[in-house]
């Protein structure tokens, strides 16, 4: 588990200076375009573009390694399960069947292997852009830019509070877990069977809930005292003004989305299988 909710890495690249709202639009458009296709060629192009953007942002690789491996591990596991559960799924997409690896109950065919490769690249395509977003966007600035995108400021503030309180609550959760462990009510493997561990975990829920409710009381009182929510609009200390480069990026996003939709409708409809 990572220690802090804010993965933000300070820097001064093009992407660090970019408006948070614009980066969110970029992330969403990128995700939407990726969702449209099941085509290896497009994913390779998007992946290369994404990685070069990450390189431009100059985020230390050490910081990103964990998330990258998490996703790679996920993708690998996912691929293995697809191959084991539906070894001939690829045929339903291509109509052909080229047996390759016998499994005993069935045979993995070339089409499914190629499908799994495509799907894995699809997931990996989403990774660089997500990393770019989370490592170059300051949480407070993000809340301000959400508001600029038209999200009501109360909602944006809730997001901001969530980011702010994750480290505190994880700490508290750990404290409660440790306190329970000292009484012999731990939740790790040595503390008994699964049922016992679940029961011990359930003992943590109520104190954690109680302390969160206390947090809610004190934070909302503090905010009320400062007059939160009395005006229909709000300015942001961390707000940024959109620059010309931001507008260009938004235009590029619109272009990317249009090209994606046109490609989907005209050129590449389904699963691309060259063999």
């Amino acid at each position: 588990m990572s220690k802090s909710s804010s993965l933000y890495v300070d820097g001064d690249s093009f992407f660090h200076r970019m408006d948070g709202a614009v980066k969110l639009v970029l992330l969403l458009v990128w995700t939407a375009v990726t969702f449209l296709f099941l085509d290896l060629r497009i994913f390779v192009v998007l992946l290369v573009a994404g990685i070069s953007m990450l390189l431009v942002a100059r985020i230390p690789i050490k910081r990103m390694k964990f998330l990258f491996w998490m996703l790679t591990l996920f993708t690998l596991m996912n691929s293995i399960f697809i191959l084991l559960i539906t070894p001939r799924f690829g045929s339903t997409l291509t109509g052909s069947n080229t047996p390759l690896i016998p499994l005993g109950y069935d045979t993995i065919n070339v089409e499914t292997l190629f499908y799994v490769l495509t799907l894995s690249l699809k997931y990996l395509t989403l990774c660089p852009i997500t990393l770019l977003f989370i490592f170059t966007t300051h949480p407070s600035r993000f809340a301000a830019s959400l508001n600029k995108l038209g999200v009501p400021y109360k909602m944006a503030y809730a997001v901001s509070i969530a980011f702010r309180y994750i480290p505190d609550l994880s700490q508290e959760f750990r404290h409660i877990l440790n306190a329970m462990q000292m009484r012999g009510l731990g939740i790790s493997r040595g503390d008994g069977n699964l049922k016992q561990r679940m029961r011990n975990l359930s003992l943590v829920v109520v104190p954690l809930l109680q302390s969160s409710l206390q947090h809610i009381e004190s934070v909302s009182d503090a905010m009320d005292l400062r007059g939160f929510g009395t005006k229909p609009k709000r300015t942001w200390y961390m707000g940024t003004r959109a620059m010309r480069s931001d507008k260009i990026v938004v235009l590029l996003c619109v272009l990317l989305l249009t090209v994606g939709i046109v490609l989907k409708l005209q050129v590449v409809q389904g699963f691309w299988y060259p063999l």
Binding site: N78, L119, C127, A158, I161, M198, S202, L209, H215
Partner: protein
Amino acid sequence: MNTGIQGSGSSGECKGGFLMKPSIWKWSTRTVVTIGIGAALYGATSWIGIPIAPDTQLRPAIALLAIFGALFGPVVGFIAGFIGHVINDFIQSGTVWWGWALGSGITAAFMGLIYLSKDFNPKDGVIKKKHLISFIIYGVVGIFVSLAFSGLFDIYAMGEPNNKIVIQVISAGLVNLAVFLILGVPAVWAYAKRNRNNANLTVER
């Protein structure tokens, strides 16, 4: 001086504003903070998981969704679940699984429907057997509706094979159900009971 409710039996009465619950559409400061802290709580505890099926985990955090839904209503539950899931994905998994994030929100929204029943008020210790039963029904429906949604999302947006998704959805559904019944329902009950004891205190003069 009688400050509140005697027990689960006499809870039908509503004295003035004391038992009034705020409308689910009103966004007070408290709503904002509740959503924020609820999302943080869900995000902070989502990392605990026991893997049980292809990329599917037993996540005790589901219980917290149930509690926040029951205490603060479906709207707060939905938004807190969604934001919490997205933030957790940002921190933990390298990409956001939008379908499953919306699924978390939908689960919490369904579980929060119990908040709408008029005489249910765990904050003042009012919870009856019929509330518990409808809470369980809402929860069960919510878990399966949300997983059906997430599964269909994966099939259509991601192009995952149907059979694999069916296995994932069913196993995740059963596990979430178990967590909901073993952790979520008793926690709401325990919370209400604890507050009922408080409400029984009288001031000696």
